[in-house]
């Protein structure tokens, strides 16, 4: 997954979203150690302070924790991970329903169409 940043929204927010997706998708598995701030900042081509702020947000969200010895690790709390995954899924669904509404389909029609395409 790359670091695409769009205009108009704070960079740290977008970095935190990207990191969150990496965690729930298992790219950074539960209990694993996250790369260092500098490393991540360099990978994303952003200021280390901005990356630091994004990582602090992950800690606030309970997705990561700082240990004095092991650096920053991904949470092993399955409930937190599942909640976050759900939350992101809901966002995607809302986005889908919204763009379908723009095309003139209501939620039921959109769901039916989704099922149809899947079959």
């Amino acid at each position: 997954m790359d670091w695409k940043l769009d205009d108009g929204r704070p960079i740290w927010v977008q970095l935190a979203e990207n990191l969150t997706r990496r965690i729930v998708s298992g790219q950074y598995p539960p209990g694993s150690r996250l790369p260092a701030v500098r490393e991540l900042a360099q990978e994303a081509g952003v200021n280390p302070n901005t990356m630091q702020r994004a990582l602090a947000q992950l800690e606030t969200d309970g997705l990561a924790a700082s240990n004095r010895t092991a650096g920053r690790t991904v949470t092993e709390d399955a409930a937190v991970l599942e909640n976050t995954r759900r939350h992101l899924a809901r966002q995607n669904i809302a986005f889908y329903l919204n763009s379908m509404a723009q095309l003139g389909y209501d939620a039921d029609q959109a769901a039916a169409l989704l099922k149809e395409v899947r079959e």
């Binding site: 940043l5 205009d7 108009g8 929204r9 081509g45 200021n47 901005t50």
Partner: protein, 240 residues
């Protein structure tokens, strides 16, 4: 002492032209700060005052708690907006020169960077492309362990790939409690690298804020805000 730069009422005039007009500016340590403004807004003048190449007409400048002088020059690493090396020199000569001149120069770091750039010690400056010269110069300047890096238009003359390389060099090589002040008008390229943006307009600081707080409050990128603030206005007619 948390500030690296403290400017107070800083004014510089060239004849009738007020290049800088009563600038109040405080910059903390450990930041990457963009000095943004259109041509002629005073970016280079401010940088030259900070490194002691110009004397203020009035007002004061302090770096690391001292007036500009021997101490401040020893902690400041300056990249001018044009090349100042003799073009008969070879890359290796410049590395020697910097090593002689600056106690905080890290030769290993510099030669490593040059190698990554494909610059050999025996390459003559005369034969280098404009982009290569800029990269060499940046490698030299960033190889000092300075507290303040003053970079005047570091990405102006190079292609987008070299630009990425230069930004990466800045990101990975500035020392953690050093501050980088870089001037540019190519904002979209550097926006994600910056902590803070200082907008200069006709010699005055019109805005000084963190990049993310600009994005948060304005709902647009710093580049978009820049275009809005500096939308070209018709000049007022001068008397001829």
């Amino acid at each position: 002492m948390n500030e690296i730069i403290l400017c107070h009422g800083l004014t510089k005039t060239f004849g009738a032209v007020r290049a800088l007009d009563n600038v109040e500016l405080t910059l903390p340590r450990g930041r990457i700060v963009g000095l943004l403004g259109p041509n002629g807004s005073g970016k280079t003048t401010l940088i030259k005052l900070l490194c002691g190449l110009l004397q203020p007409t009035s007002g004061t400048v302090e770096i690391d708690g001292c007036a500009v002088g021997v101490h401040t020059k020893s902690v400041t690493s300056y990249l001018p907006d044009r090349m100042y090396f003799a073009d008969w020199m070879r890359a290796g000569d410049l590395v020697d020169l910097f090593a002689d001149f600056y106690r905080d120069f890290d030769r290993t770091k510099c030669t490593g960077m040059c190698a990554a750039l494909g610059i050999h010690a025996r390459d003559r400056i005369k034969t280098m492309s404009k982009g290569t010269k800029e990269k060499l110069q940046l490698a030299l300047v960033m190889s000092r362990r300075a507290q303040l890096y003053l970079l005047d238009e570091p990405i102006a003359g190079v292609d987008p790939a070299a630009r990425d390389f230069i930004l990466n060099t800045i990101l990975t090589n500035y020392n953690e409690d050093g501050t980088v002040l870089l001037s540019t008008h190519l904002i979209s390229d550097i926006e994600r690298v910056l902590d803070e943006a200082v907008f200069l307009k006709a010699g005055r600081v019109v805005r000084h804020e963190s990049v993310d707080s600009i994005r948060e409050t304005e709902g647009k990128s710093v580049d978009a805000l820049f275009r809005e603030i500096f939308r070209t206005q018709p000049m007022e007619g001068g008397a001829w």
